[in-house]
């Protein structure tokens, strides 16, 4: 139940600057996702908030109180790690109770809290088992349970779904979303490299690249109004189509971008090209059209496509869906 204030935070490891000056306000109860490519600094950012790394300069505050000097357990945070990090030699119950036992809470109090969290995550049947007797998904829930038990002000997730297979990932994503709803007052900060996770879970997304923030906004804001080429290309799957020079000139921009779901086949006009490849998903078809640009334009159709491979086609962006970018990559 805290808002987090990150002011001009920089972090260097020796001579390497990993975080180059980040300012961010995270509202209380908000689900904030840090997303970005490998090496962008998102995990480092999370660890700075957690207190597992020292802040080189700048401040991080919880509810107005600067926490730079506080150790993780004194900041009132809880963290779910990518590899779950469960204590292998302890039962699920002991894993969840460990922090409270160290803090010398009364055994009854500990029991109540553990049972409550176990109930919330439906892991009560496993309380006496060891981690190695659990599946990946169950272990992840125990890891979340361990964090819940701490009743933290801030809940931190470090790529918790990366180690799960695709089906489990979707199921656990739902669990985390439900968790957020049931723990409405707890601020959650979540790190992932998967923009789908970001889009589906976040209240707001913070896109990082090379240690600086590219854009912060709600998922829809990032989708509809990307501020620069990088964000535009990062959010949305498949990646936004980018066109330069002769294609962009009519729009008075250096580069234009159109999402594949905003492209359509037209009978005449638009851009002429040939279908070179089609991905038929059943629910949608993604056709790859070569119009003379470096990379083919991807266009999405619902259901099956009318156009086969090698067909000569005309494609054009739908009304008002073209994003325009200047020479500096910033949106116009």
């Amino acid at each position: 139940m805290a808002n987090i204030s990150i002011k001009n935070v920089k972090k260097s490891f020796g001579a390497v600057d990993v975080i180059k000056g980040v300012d961010l306000e995270i509202k209380q109860g908000e689900f904030m996702v840090f997303v970005g490519p490998s090496g962008c600094g998102k995990s480092t950012m999370l660890r700075l908030v957690a207190g597992l790394e020292d802040i080189t300069s700048g401040t991080i505050s919880f509810d107005g109180k600067v926490v730079n000097a506080l150790s993780p357990s004194n900041r009132g945070i809880a963290m779910v790690f990518q590899s779950y990090a469960l204590y292998p030699h302890m039962t699920v119950y002991d894993n969840m109770a460990f922090g409270l036992k160290l803090a010398k809470n009364a055994p009854d109090d500990i029991k109540t809290r553990v049972m409550k969290a176990a109930d919330m995550l439906q892991i009560t049947p496993y309380l006496q088992r060891l981690p190695k007797q659990l599946s990946g998904g169950q272990r992840q829930r125990v890891a979340i349970g361990r964090a819940i038990v701490r009743d933290p002000k801030v809940f931190l997730f470090d790529e918790p779904l990366s180690n799960l297979d695709a089906a489990l990932r979707v199921a656990t994503r739902l669990e985390i979303a439900k968790l957020h709803h049931s723990m409405g007052k707890t601020t959650m900060v979540y790190v992932t490299h998967d923009q789908v996770e970001a889009m589906t879970l976040a209240d707001r997304i913070c896109v990082l690249k090379d240690g600086i923030i590219e854009q912060v906004g709600t998922p829809l804001e990032l989708y509809e109004k990307p501020k620069n080429l990088f964000v535009a290309g990062f959010i949305g799957s498949p990646k936004m189509n980018f066109l330069n020079s002769k294609f962009a000139e009519p729009y008075k921009a250096t580069t234009i971008g159109v999402r594949s779901e905003h492209m359509e086949f037209v009978d005449k006009g638009g851009w002429a090209g040939k279908v070179i490849h089609a991905e038929k998903m059943g629910s949608d078809t993604y056709s790859f059209v070569d119009v003379g640009t470096e990379e083919p334009i991807i266009i999405r159709e619902i259901g099956t496509s009318r156009h086969d491979v090698d067909a000569k086609v005309n494609i054009a962006p739908m009304k008002d869906t073209v994003h325009r970018f200047g020479a500096d990559g910033i949106s116009i």
Binding site: N8, D23, G51, T59, N68, A69, L70, S71, I213
Partner: protein
């Protein structure tokens, strides 16, 4: 609400350091101090005292009253005027002591031969254990036996086998017509070093074999498979592929063995006592310290041994470019 990244010149407060790291650093030193103190008391201080004794005339019973002797234990040169008027030149000290240098020679002789033998045989055994065959586990267990037996016991066991009258070793050799009469392996000056080398090799080869085996097991098998596909002769595979890849582990094993060989005491003291052919630096040093009641002189010898070891390590490290943190260049 949107926040841009670079706010101009906001007052950057000097952040205080995260207490976590301070606590950990402090704990680290608290954890380390018992060990450091122990090593200081048990190793550093006694070493310093031993070196100090080497500059004194201490004796076993009176070491509290030891007086400073300068470098006399190492080298002295004095002229003595005799009553008859003749002048005697006397030099002495460890550095010109024939017995000492004999001991040095013995030690290096022993070290070179036994380390070479143990390495070569160890390599052979390691290669054998690296291959898959039935009973491999049993063989590996069997070779651990010489290593597990206390040195003293090995010395006694071999002393019995090498006994000139009742020893089985002589018996086998006689029966195989390799020798024509019984040899006193541990007593005869021409054979005693051979006996020492043989027993030490017997005892230590397993250790070398295991270290080398660990190095061999780190080599990915697809390297060998590729060589086999290319049809390279096994001997060439060994020289050009196996040997270079196992070299880091080999170098570490060799230096450990070499140092052990240079400081050897137990085996020599028990198997071939009082033999000038096998007396090593450690043996003669202790002999002077305790048997001859020349604590200062013996300490000088042990200090020179220490220096020799130090120099050997340094030379080896530079020469073999061994990185003890792991791996070699």
């Amino acid at each position: 609400m949107d926040n841009s990244t670079t706010l101009p010149q906001l007052a950057v407060e000097t952040p205080s350091k995260n207490e976590l790291f301070e606590t950990r650093r402090r704990s680290a030193w608290i954890f380390l101090s018992p060990m450091i103190v122990t090593l200081l008391v048990v190793a550093a201080f006694p070493l310093a005292r031993s070196i100090w004794f080497s500059f004194s005339d201490a004796s076993l019973l009176h070491f509290k009253e030891a007086g400073f002797n300068g470098i006399k234990n190492y080298y002295f040169h004095k002229t003595i005027k005799m009553d008859s008027g003749a002048i005697l030149d006397k030099t002495g000290g460890v550095l010109v002591d024939a017995d000492w240098w004999n001991a040095v020679w013995n030690t290096f002789r022993f070290g070179a031969v036994s380390v070479a033998l143990e390495t070569i045989l160890g390599m052979a055994v390691a290669l054998m254990l690296n291959a898959t065959f039935k009973g491999r586990g049993f063989v590996r267990a069997a070779i651990l036996i010489p290593w597990a037996i206390p040195t003293v016991v090995s010395a006694k066991m071999w002393g019995w086998m090498l006994n000139d009258q009742l020893g089985i070793f002589n018996d086998i050799l006689l029966k195989m017509h390799i020798i024509s009469e019984k040899i006193a392996w541990t007593a005869d000056a021409s054979y005693s070093m051979f006996a020492i080398v043989m027993v030490d090799t017997w005892k230590t080869m397993p250790f070398m074999a295991l270290l080398i085996l660990a190095g061999l097991q780190q080599i990915p098998s697809d390297v060998y498979e590729a060589a086999e596909v290319d049809g390279i002769h096994p001997l060439k595979v060994f020289w050009k592929i196996t040997l270079p890849l196992v070299r880091p582990a080999l170098m570490v094993a060799v230096i450990f063995r070499m140092l052990d060989a240079l400081r050897i005491f137990d085996l020599v003291y028990i198997l071939t006592p009082n033999s000038s052919q096998t007396k090593t630096m450690a043996v003669i040093s202790r002999e002077n310290m305790f048997d001859n009641d020349k604590l200062g002189y013996g300490s000088a010898e042990s200090t020179v041994l220490f220096l020799i070891l130090l120099i050997t390590v340094i030379v080896y490290m530079r020469f073999a470019k061994v990185n003890l943190e792991g791996g070699a260049q």
